[in-house]
Homo-oligomer: 475 residues x 2
């Protein structure tokens, strides 16, 4: 053939190739170029951020360590450190580690929501390799605290599975379709019983590795309260009393004016207890002067209704003490645990600002009077906050989030909301209120009630240890 | 120039192009070919698996609905449904949804561990685009319940940010380097206060979209107990008594033989209470016959030590009642909430098998006597299980996971562990035991103690409602 023919052939081939090249250039994933320079390990498990810098105590804070007698400090400090370590172990898991999804990985896998009951085999959803023609495909999956299995029975000879029933499994095939079919059958089983923990799976193909969490959770049995038909089957009134029977009687008769049948639970640690009787009135006699929070805890422990209404023994019910309105808010926003009202027009709510600081030194807490967040949707009279006044409606099971610490014998209130910070959802509402009886002066009562210096010091020592705090500011 | 020269040029160009093409073919990511056929949306949020099929009651199960009086059934069933809906709302969040990581996405993003306090601005770690040369890059990030912001101040003119301070932000640039620098500055702030919830972020570039969770968590204040120096500062003994003062006195003196100072808390609902006195013995007087679990709840509510030891009023301490050994196990495995011992050589532990079934119909529960899981590492005498005998050491704050339901007045025990299923970590140990006093026959006591048919029916009605169950089998 002539040279011109050769040229024609060459030129056309050339154009064809250039066109082909152009096509590839277009379809070529820019990402991939970059990916070549990105070693897979940069996408491995990122380290947990180390414990943050010490927190700063706002001016006017109480330095709690100064409240611990010098000769005891080292021992107390050591014991607190040990308890805090155990607390961390109870409250953290693999789930707190930071994980990143690696870019340009041909692997598909679950990043959230794969939850298995302990010791039960469950298929892992979404495992798949998205890659193109090649002679052989091999993926590896491994876990730390469980076993993996895969069903390749339909693909004998086509798919090779190694490590079936072990912590690391390899699936290999010359067919991507068959490989993915077997990946879809891979299941996980935890090796240990735990009610709530996690395992970490690593899934890899060639130089691509991805890690994802497996949540191990024993399904919880629901614990529901029957609301019954009326307010008496929904709410109980809880009272702690000490010496002030005259006040208590005024309160009780005011309750009965508006709520004739509602159950009233009274925790009484008076020195010489007087018998209080009446329909649906339950009196519990404690050892004398056992204390304020012990009494609150006792009263709440006896509640059988979904909610309890906390009132002090010198309060007095009025027209505007509408428990139903508080129940309405709670039912409309089921996440709420506590809804406070107002005492003689004052809501006395406060917010808590907490910086956990350096864990061995302890955190910084700021109790901000009148502090609050935003209004509840649909309830402009109610604001989310951290703590409320002595008059509040609470879910009986909120005690499963925070306790009235019986170590607090005299003056105490905010402490319940401090211990519940991060657990309790609290709102303060101005549209329900209760009255306060005129103050009387009983010396015997005041002697117990007023907080001595040593009691104040004890409270600070308690915050230092119990809450792992460095300082508190009461603003 | 001559044709031959042209041919040479063409041929060499041809070879060069073929070589170029070969290089591309090699570096070309097989995965990408496949990716073209995979529409991004198949990787979007996968639906939450719908409520499972009804569970099957094992033979010998009690059908709980048959225990509800027919005329009340519809109302009760409706109320249960409503309470269960609220319970679901309280216990679930975006975190329960299944999410898959899309393959071959050029995006890097956090899949786990990005936790922010409510209403606080926090930088999102790991956001990055891994893609190659192109004239312009544009990524979009959006959230549902928060605001996003980015700092492009150093790149004015180079990077365009749209929607700063809004729920959707767009970052655009002709420089990948600058774009990623701005992505590294992107921060999230929740719009609502909540102690524990989640937001869902969507991150996209061209046809690639990835979704990842943002956990919103108010940091919790730790609540630690001071172990002090000796067993008396670590454990309190809790007892519920009714009429059997002779038994109680035998128990108390046996306790004092081995533990002279340990605090003993007694909840007493006897018809005619007798005063019980003694160093570190606290007696609480309840309304007459208030009930078994009410008394247990009362006693535990008064505990100020890290642990409490539960004993019945007709038990008796012996040489082998070594509380220290139980404390040792608890301290070695901080996740444990309850450690049971043996009563006269019997551990009486049981496991609970729970299938939540169809949520409106209810779940199936099987209490398997002698059921247990595996031994505790390092403690071959201790096995993990779901419930234990009446003699156990428990963390005082385990009551924040399960309550002794005061509605259970007479025969009750497993109910505490049922309500705590999925929350309580329970172990049964055979190396610590307590004795049982010889049974006496008091008619008055037996009249109260023995369970009447109506009480049995009430318990089944309670399980039906409270635990949203269809049936229970006691094996």
């Amino acid at each position: 053939m002539t040279k011109s023919t050769i040229i024609k052939v060459l030129v056309s081939t050339l154009f064809f190739l250039v066109f082909l090249l152009y096509l590839f250039m277009r379809s070529f994933p820019a990402s991939q170029k970059m990916e070549m320079h990105v070693p897979a390990q940069t996408h491995r498990l990122a380290p947990v951020p180390v414990s943050p810098r010490p927190c700063t105590c706002p001016p006017g804070s109480v330095q709690l360590k100064d409240q611990i007698p010098e000769d005891q400090f080292d021992k107390v400090y050591q014991r607190r450190k040990e308890e805090f370590e155990k607390w961390k172990k109870r409250t953290s898991s693999e789930l707190s580690k930071l994980l990143l999804a690696p870019p340009n990985s041909p692997l598909q896998y679950p990043i959230q929501g794969f939850t298995v009951p302990p010791l039960r085999r469950c298929p892992i959803p979404g495992l798949k390799l998205y890659t193109g023609e090649q002679s052989r495909y091999k993926v590896i999956l491994n876990v730390r605290n469980g076993l993996l299995s895969a069903d390749a029975s339909l693909f004998t000879g086509e798919v090779i599975v190694k490590g079936d029933g072990k912590a690391e499994i390899t699936v290999e095939s010359s067919s991507l379709k068959f490989l993915n079919a077997v990946l879809a059958s891979v299941s996980y089983q935890s090796s240990f019983y735990h009610v709530h923990t996690a395992d970490l799976a690593s899934f890899s193909f060639e130089n691509h590795e991805a890690q994802f969490p497996i949540i191990i959770r024993q399904p919880q049995l629901p614990v529901l309260f029957d609301m019954g038909a009326d307010i008496s089957s929904q709410v109980s009134i809880t009272i702690k009393t000490f010496l002030r029977y005259d006040n208590l009687k005024v309160l009780l008769s005011s309750i009965r004016r508006f709520y004739p049948n509602i159950t009233v639970i009274i925790a009484d640690d008076s020195i010489e207890p007087e018998k209080i009787t009446g329909e649906n009135i339950q009196q519990y006699i404690m050892p004398p002067a056992q204390g304020w929070f012990a009494g609150r805890n006792l009263a709440v422990s006896q509640v059988t209704t979904k909610y309890f209404l906390w009132v002090d023994d010198d309060f007095i019910f009025s027209q505007s003490t509408k428990i139903e309105k508080m129940v309405e808010v709670m039912e409309a926003v089921p996440e709420l645990d506590v809804v406070g009202g107002s005492v003689q027009g004052n809501t006395f709510h406060f917010s808590l600002e907490y910086d956990k600081g350096d864990e061995t030194e302890g955190g910084c807490l700021y109790r901000k009077s009148h502090g609050r967040f935003h209004a509840l949707p649909g309830y402009p009279q109610c604001y989310l906050t951290s703590g409320v006044v002595n008059f509040f409606l609470a879910r009986t099971d909120c005690i499963q989030k925070s306790r009235f610490d019986p170590l607090l014998k005299r003056v105490a209130h905010s402490e319940f909301f401090m211990d519940g910070l991060g657990s309790l959802m609290v709102a303060s509402c101005s549209h329900v209120s209760i009255g306060h009886q005129p103050k009387k002066n009983s010396n015997q009562y005041n002697n117990f009630r007023k907080q001595t210096g040593s009691e104040q010091a004890f409270k600070y020592q308690l915050h230092f240890f119990k809450n792992n705090l460095k300082c508190i500011k009461f603003g």
